[in-house]
Structures are given as C-alpha cells and as structure tokens.
C-alpha cells in the first residue's frame, strides 16, 4: 500500500544480564521486546496496551531509535532505519517525536517554556530566532495555552498544562509520527479528557499519525483506530478497535477486558467477572511456547506449552491473534472460557 508510514518486522530488544566485575560475561537476557511486527498507515492511530513490564515503552523507544534494537527491521517511509547511525538518523528525527508519560519529569525545570518548545527548531536549524518565537507562541495557542506563557518556567504550570507543553514541543517541527507513551496516565479524569480531545483535534488538523501507548483500555479504545495487545514482549492480538473490543479472540485480551471496571453499576452487576490468576512472569525466563499458557483458562497441555502460536488471521480481515484456541464469542462466562477438550477437538480438526 502506498500510505504505509512505518513497517516493523520481528523487532527484538534484549537487555543483557551480566555477571562479574572485570570480566563481564552475559549470563542471560531480559527479553523486553521479543518479536513485534506491525504496519502503521499514515494518519491512523495504533493503540498499544498491556500490563506494566510487557515491553510497550521499550518498543516505543526502539521505534524512534532512542535505544538500539537487538534484531528486526524498522522501515520508515520505505527506508530501513534500524541500522542507521545516530548521524544518519538526525534528519529523520524531524519526522518523529515523542510525548512522555510524566509531565513533571519530562520538562527541564531550569529552562523557560519558550526554550523547551523551540529547542527542536533550533537543533534542526529551522527559522530565525524571531520566527521561532512567533512559531512557539502560535503553538502554545494551538495546544490551548496562553502565548504569554512563553517566558514562564514549568513549575508554574499544573500537570495538564505541562502535558500541553510536552505536546507543543512534539509538534514544533511538524512531525508526521508522534509516539505518545502513556500521555494521560498521570492526569485526573477531567484533565485527561481535555488532553485526549486535544490529541484528536491535532490529528485532524495536521494529519498526524500516532502510536498511543497506555495501560488504560478505555483510553485506548477512545483514541485508537487499531489496537495491539502485548504480553511479555510479544503482540498477542492486533485488530481494529471495534473488533478488538466487541469480539476479542485471544484469552488474554478477554481477561483484560473483563477486568476493567465499568462505570455503570447496573451493567457491572450483570457482568461475570473473569479474574486472571497469578502475575506476569519474569521476562528473563518466560514460559515455553505460548507465554500466556500458565495463566490461560484455555490451556491445552501438550499443545500450548510445546508449540508456539504465531500471529495469524482469526476473523475478518486483519484481525490477528496468537492463540491455538481463540475465543469463539464474546462475552463469555468463566465456564465457557475454560477449555473444553471435547468441543475443541471436534472443531479443531
């Protein structure tokens, strides 16, 4: 397709675990990202969800080459950027920016807002200082701040306003791709709604492409066109937002959806809660084959712990999931979710 902006193939990032002080030898690796592939079209929003420690943020940092990926290809506008040096990356950095989670930690407390937003313009040598100032002031207005805030310091702003500064900074050099790493998780609901609306408006206005990382499934549903669910460094399901939320196929996605509290007491009482047992395993030593099998209600001995499921088409077009026994319908009761050998054997063969 012509409008593919970013193609990621088999992306991996393993952090070495070493022992010894002088002779450091690698004894193991943390498989933070372990084989992620997806395509991102221009102008769309890809939501990435998963529990903490599933590699969402590491993947984002790899995509922007803020850390070097261990393996895999990242093709941006038809060009493989995974092997580029820092210098070769520099012109490309104008195209991709990032908005960070913590608006308190991601702004330099000693610099004025004007400098923070203009820094990228300066680095790329765009415009004269006077033009830069005008551009920054108009950007501040675009994100809903007062242009007079130009000379203020970050501590003079509230959390929501700081996140607006972070967004203005990301917009400064007219990027095409913005990676938002949990941009609203530190904010109160009323402010969160303001920022989400702002991000949507900006996308419409400037034709931006977003990768939106969050652990809050409600937020991801609201902002994304397509959603990728990650578990232990691997994507387990990738589908359009409507399909993923109304007809999830992977048991993990189902468990995540079932765990989200619904702000409607009547609906909440009707719903059967499927509580997932246990914790996310250690990514140094992930379970064999399907990573999810020790917690999975549909676990099938001798299959799920031996044969690794690949992402494959499970329903409709481009609804992929990595599971041998995808869910047949949604919602399901806990009894239905539990694997039934006779039924699956009949359907499976």
């Amino acid at each position: 397709m012509a409008d593919e902006l970013l193609v990621v193939e088999g992306l991996k990032k393993h952090f070495p675990v070493t022992r010894g002080i002088i002779f450091q030898r690698q004894i193991d690796a943390v498989r933070a990202v372990d084989g992620v592939s997806f395509t991102l079209n221009e102008g769309e929003t890809l939501g990435v969800v998963g529990e903490s420690g599933c590699g969402k943020s590491t993947m984002a940092r790899c995509l922007l080459k803020l850390i070097e990926p261990t393996e895999g290809k990242i093709v941006f506008r038809g060009r493989d950027i995974s092997k580029l040096s820092r210098r070769e990356m520099r012109p490309l950095r104008r195209e991709m920016m990032m908005v960070f989670q913590d608006p308190y930690a991601s702004l330099n407390v000693r610099k004025r807002v004007g400098f923070i937003v203009a820094e990228a313009l300066e680095v790329h040598g765009i415009a004269t200082p006077a033009e830069r100032k005008r551009r920054v002031q108009s950007l501040l207005e675009v994100v809903g701040l007062n242009p007079e805030h130009y000379n203020r310091f970050p501590h003079e702003f509230s959390g929501g306003q700081r996140q607006r500064i972070g967004i203005a900074r990301a917009l400064a050099i007219n990027p095409t791709l913005i990676v938002c790493d949990e941009p609203v998780s530190a904010l109160d609901v009323s402010v969160q709604a303001q920022i989400l609306n702002l991000l949507k408006d900006l996308q419409r206005e400037f034709g931006l492409t977003y990768i939106f990382i969050a652990h809050d499934l409600n937020v991801v549903r609201h902002i994304s066109d397509r959603v990728m669910v990650m578990y232990l460094g691997k994507p387990v399901e990738l589908a359009s937002r409507t399909e993923l939320y109304t007809a999830p196929k992977h048991p993990y996605t189902g468990a995540l959806l079932a765990a989200v509290p619904i702000p409607d007491p009547a609906l909440g009482r009707l719903r059967q809660r499927v509580v997932l047992e246990g914790d996310v395993p250690n990514p140094i030593n992930p379970p064999a084959a399907c990573n999810f099998h020790p917690r999975c209600p549909r676990f099938h001995e001798g299959h799920c712990d031996v044969d690794t499921p690949e992402l494959r088409n499970v329903a409709g077009h481009a609804h992929t999931a990595a599971c041998h026994y995808p869910l047949e319908k949604w919602p399901m009761t806990p009894e239905e979710i539990r694997y039934d050998r006779s039924r699956t054997a009949a359907v499976g063969s």
């Binding site: 402010v191 619904i262 007491p265 809660r273």
Partner: protein, 343 residues
C-alpha cells in the same frame, strides 16, 4: 441501626507559609457495618486528608481539625494518643496506595504482620506467627508458609498489596479505610484485589471507606458514593443514583469525561480549566468558574447540601432547579446510554 462511622461537619486546615489551606471544609457522611462507601474526586480535593483526619494521622504541629468523628458513638477526633493507638490497627485499619512505600523494606512481611498482632493481642509469638500465616493464606498468597519469611521486595506489586490487606485485616477491624488501594496496579491485578476485598467484606462484615479517583472502581465496589470537589461534598447518594441520575454539574462532568469501554464516543465532554487552589477558593459555589450552568447566585452564595425530592438518600449542592437538572442529565447521558446498549 446506628452507623458505625458518623462524620459530622469535619473541617481540617493546614497552616502554610502562604496562609491557611482548608483541605476539608465541612464534610458529612456515615458508614454502616458491611457497607462500602466510595469517596471520589480529583487529586487535591481533600479525599485523603478526610481519611487521615478520621484516623488522627495528620501532623498536629500545623493542622487544626473541627467537627465530629463518631466511631460506634465515640468521638475519636479529639481522642488521646493512647486511645487512638488502641483503635488503629485493631478497630480501624487502613490500606495505602503504594504498597512498596508503606511496607517496611528491612523487615520480613511475617515480622510486620506479627508486630500488628502482638500490639493488640496478649498471645505468644508462636501463636502470632500462626495467625500471620493464616492471614497470608486468606488473602491468597501461594505457599504462605514460606512466603511469610520473605522481604517486601521479593513480592510482586499485587502480592504486596495483598500483604497490606492481610496486615489490615489481621485483627478483624470493624472499619477499613482504603486510600486508592488499586491505583498503582494493573487492571488484572486490580480485579484480583477488588474481588478479594469484597470477599473479605462478606466474610467479616467490615465497613469499607474506599477512596479513589476511578469511577469504574467505585461503580463496582461501593454501595454509596460521596463526590468531593475542592474540599466540599457536592453530591452524595446510592451508587445507582449517582451513576444513573446524577444531580450536580461536576458529577456530570466527571462521568462525561470518562472514555468508556462499552461505548464509542467521538469527543469526550470536558470540564474546562483546573481545580481551584484551596488557599484561595472561589467565592460562592467553588465549581462556578468551571460550570457551564453558572448563574449569578452561584457567584455569591455557597450552596448547601440538600435532599433531592424524589430520593431521600440522595443529596446535592447546586442551585439549579430540579427540572433543569433532570432534563440536562437525560440529555447529557442520552448519547452514552444509546451507544452503551448498542455497542
């Protein structure tokens, strides 16, 4: 039946360099045994300070509190330190938001549990250890016999919160105050912790005060809800009343600004602006600078909590007439409701 906890006109203010901060400004609510009351509001609205005041945990140097906190009919707001110490951990227990910072990292989990038991019970150390093991088992920690000797850092986030709950419940308290107990946890862990708390409540008949900013959590766990804004209660009612027929524009804003799992909404309703500073709160109704329905009277007079005519248990503090409110609430939620049923 008299309420287990009856908070009346609670006020707490802190003295700071810039003046007095009225962090809690006239809060009333009651909790009955076996029930859960949810206190919701944005950060800085006084939820946590309310609970710290109930527990008598505010720093006394710069804090003044007034009002009444009746626990089983006894006013514990002005109680002596020794009386409070005998209540805390025994009759009233608290769970905090961050389980890592509220467990002592240099003692084993078991030792911390034993300490809680020995403080309030005249039993031997061996017996106390037995109870600690039982408590860990009850909250669903696998291999409790061995894990009791682990340090907090050897536990995962969810297990630490379970250990915190075990510690809070070990003396079978009548009242449990949970301050954002699941905010730091993932959704799947959150679901585990919430159902654990519900099970413990059913088994022990504990009353729970649940502080949270997550309306979903409140909807699933609470029987009654108190909505706070800028140190005051703006609305109070049963969970069904608050979520199906909310009466205060701030509650509308909170519900409207929520992205929903069960509905696709193109644009969220947002509350403009920021919560006000409590050093110098707005005159009149504290919500008026952000309110879309503001009238002249809102800028001058402070609205009192008043009953809603058709529901005796539902109270709200807003000058709008009921007819307008019913109409507006219906209009605002028509979109969500329609999308919710179809989606």
């Amino acid at each position: 039946m008299t309420a287990l906890l009856d908070v009346r006109d609670l006020r707490t203010q802190f003295q700071t360099e810039d003046g007095f901060v009225k962090a809690v400004d006239g809060v009333d609510f009651t909790v009955e045994s076996g029930k859960t009351i949810g206190i919701v509001g944005e950060s800085g609205c006084g939820k946590s300070v309310t609970c710290l005041t109930i527990m008598g945990l505010n720093e006394s140097r710069n804090t003044t509190s007034s009002g009444q906190v009746l626990f089983n009919g006894e006013d514990i707001l002005g109680a002596s330190g020794s009386r409070l110490r005998s209540l805390r951990g025994k009759e009233i227990a608290m769970i905090f938001q961050d389980p890592m910072t509220s467990l002592n990292p240099v003692h084993t989990v078991g030792r911390q549990l034993v300490e809680t038991v020995l403080l309030h019970n005249d039993i031997s150390k061996t017996e106390a250890r037995g109870r600690a093991r039982e408590a860990l088992k009850e909250v669903g920690i696998p291999r409790a016999e061995q894990r009791v000797d682990d340090y907090p850092h050897q536990f995962s986030g969810g297990m630490r919160q379970r250990a915190m709950i075990a510690m809070a419940m070990i003396n079978d308290p009548k009242l449990l105050i949970a301050d954002e107990p699941t905010t730091a946890l993932d959704v799947t862990t959150q679901a585990q912790i919430l159902s654990l708390m519900q099970k413990l409540q059913e088994d022990h008949g504990t009353a729970i005060v649940m502080i949270t900013h997550d309306l979903g959590v409140v909807a699933e766990t609470a029987h009654e809800v108190v909505v706070m804004y800028a140190a005051k209660v703006v609305e109070r009612g049963t969970v069904d009343a608050i979520f199906t027929a909310p009466q205060h524009p701030y509650t509308w804003g909170l519900l409207g600004s929520l992205p929903r799992l069960d509905a696709e909404i193109d644009r969220l309703a947002q509350i403009p602006g920021q919560p006000p500073s409590l050093l110098n709160p707005p005159r009149g109704c504290r919500f008026h600078p952000r309110c879309a329905y503001v009238m002249d009277v809102c800028k001058e007079k402070v609205p009192e909590l008043m009953g809603v005519s058709h529901d005796a248990d539902h109270e709200q503090a807003c000058f709008l007439d009921e007819e307008t409110k019913t109409r507006e609430a219906a209009r605002l939620f028509a979109a969500t409701m329609a999308a919710g049923t179809s989606g």
